[in-house]
């Protein structure tokens, strides 16, 4: 029953599996993002209050979601690697961090571009923007800690631990930042029951969300292959894999 789990610890298997999965993720991401973009930017009705400017939500909300999702996967991969001493977990965490940081930057940039017409300013010290910014700092801390060590395995474990500590802190930071009164609009999608967003606007958003996650999976697979090759560059199978 656990053999698939142990297989994940083997670098050649991970390398091959990532290569096999990447095109699927990429293809499905192209379909869902393509549908989401066309339906969201062209066919969805303009918002009664925000007009066409609301359409930036189709990029902003998925990247904000992905910034947290990537952080969580990074921390969990690091935790798995730390607890069960599976080196590939560190490779996944190392591959995931820059992607997550990029999504965080994307969420910040689209958020401030959205803020300009809506709030009249690019940057407001709004709770969600601020906690997103702190999340970016956490990413930077984890990435610089990993590269600060001369011994890579030590850097891996240190970064994994910091990732876990950060994961515990993310909700605390988020809720303490929400202590201030919020400019940001309340949650639109994650309400149980009847969502306040009509289906014509919601479906493209959900499709974009799925598409961004698939895209993250695809990029993760690609980065993971590079990460595995770099880490295993002394191994025989790498030389054979590159020759063939």
């Amino acid at each position: 029953m656990w053999t698939w789990f142990y297989k994940l610890a083997s670098p050649p298997y991970v390398y091959a599996a990532a290569a096999a999965l990447a095109p699927w993720f990429l293809g499905l991401a192209a379909i869902t993002v393509g549908y989401g973009l066309v339906d969201g930017l062209v066919y969805a009705p303009p918002d009664y209050q925000q007009g066409d400017a609301f359409r930036i939500i189709y990029v902003h909300a998925p990247s904000a979601w992905l910034s947290l999702f990537a952080y969580t996967s990074m921390a969990l991969a690091g935790a798995i690697a730390l607890v069960w001493r599976i080196k590939m977990g560190h490779a996944v965490a190392a591959a995931s961090a820059p992607i997550g940081a990029s999504f965080t930057v994307l969420a910040l940039v689209t958020g401030s571009l959205w803020g300009r017409p809506m709030w009249g300013t690019y940057w407001a010290w709004d709770p969600r923007l601020t906690s997103e910014l702190i999340l970016l700092f956490l990413y930077v801390g984890v990435m610089s800690l990993r590269s600060a060590f001369e011994d890579p395995s030590r850097g891996d474990r240190a970064a994994a631990l910091l990732g876990i500590v950060g994961l515990v802190n993310v909700p605390i930071i988020h809720y303490s930042v929400t202590w201030w009164n919020s400019l940001h609009q309340g949650a639109t999608v994650a309400k149980l029951g009847k969502p306040p967003m009509p289906g014509s606007m919601l479906w493209p958003l959900l499709s974009m969300l799925l598409g961004f996650m698939l895209f993250y999976g695809a990029v993760l697979c690609m980065r993971l292959r590079g990460e595995v090759l770099n880490r295993e560059r002394q191994a025989k199978w790498v030389r054979e894999a590159i020759k063939s």
Partner: protein, 226 residues
């Protein structure tokens, strides 16, 4: 000779305090830094006491965070450099007890000392006497929490040559809730409204980090020491 965990805790705390008091200049430096930073703000902003009073909680808390961070670098460093830390790790006591003792002693000579100095700074910044109790309590809880967070960061960066900047980079984002609630509590006390909610939250954060951070710091030290 085998000693119990509490006895070991007491011995390490006593050793740390003894070492600190033999180098009083190192004891004073973070406090002087705290005073200097708080002096910078009136010079850079304005001499109007009313304006200063509005800024005071933030200034006080930012200065306290920065000066605690400065001294955090020395938490494990000198002991790791001369091998004492490895001996302590091998002495048969759990490393967690050592970490708890060292961090607590470190808080006594930096955080608690900073709390004692803060009324002077508070008066200079125009914080009314009625708000002092809240200010002292929030600073006490906040610096203790920060010492725990800092122990994790110091443990992670102890083996690095230039770990000081990285330490701040790691610890400051984690410490932001402290700033929000600490400065918030002081601000409320100054304006005369109840600061109980923010203080409770600070206390909760303090208990939370006191419970979990020692283990995280121990793991961090084990990663960098072995």
């Amino acid at each position: 000779m085998r000693v119990g965990a509490f006895e070991a805790f007491g011995l390490v705390v006593r050793r740390e305090l003894c070492l600190s008091f033999r180098r009083p200049d190192q004891l004073l430096q973070p406090l002087v830094f705290f005073l200097i930073v708080t002096t910078l703000f009136p010079l850079g902003l304005s001499l109007q006491l009313s304006l200063l009073r509005d800024m005071a909680p933030g200034v006080l808390w930012v200065a306290a965070l920065l000066s605690s961070l400065l001294s955090l670098d020395s938490l494990f460093k000198s002991d790791a450099d001369d091998g004492t830390l490895e001996q302590l790790a091998l002495c048969g006591q759990g490393l967690t007890v050592i970490v708890v003792a060292k961090t607590f002693a470190h808080w006594l000579v930096t955080g608690a000392a900073l709390v004692l100095v803060s009324p002077v700074v508070g008066t200079a910044l125009g914080i009314p006497g009625a708000a002092f109790a809240t200010m002292l309590l929030s600073l006490g809880l906040g610096t203790l929490t920060l010492s725990w967070l800092g122990a994790i960061g110091a443990g992670l960066t102890v083996g690095l040559k230039r770990g000081n900047v990285l330490l701040s980079l790691i610890v400051l984002p984690l410490a932001m809730p402290l700033l929000i609630f600490g400065a918030g509590a002081t601000d409320r006390a100054i304006s005369g409204t109840s600061a109980v909610g923010a203080l409770y939250f600070l206390a909760a954060l303090c208990v939370f980090t006191c419970t979990l951070a020692p283990f995280a710091a121990t793991v961090a030290l084990r990663i960098t020491l072995e």
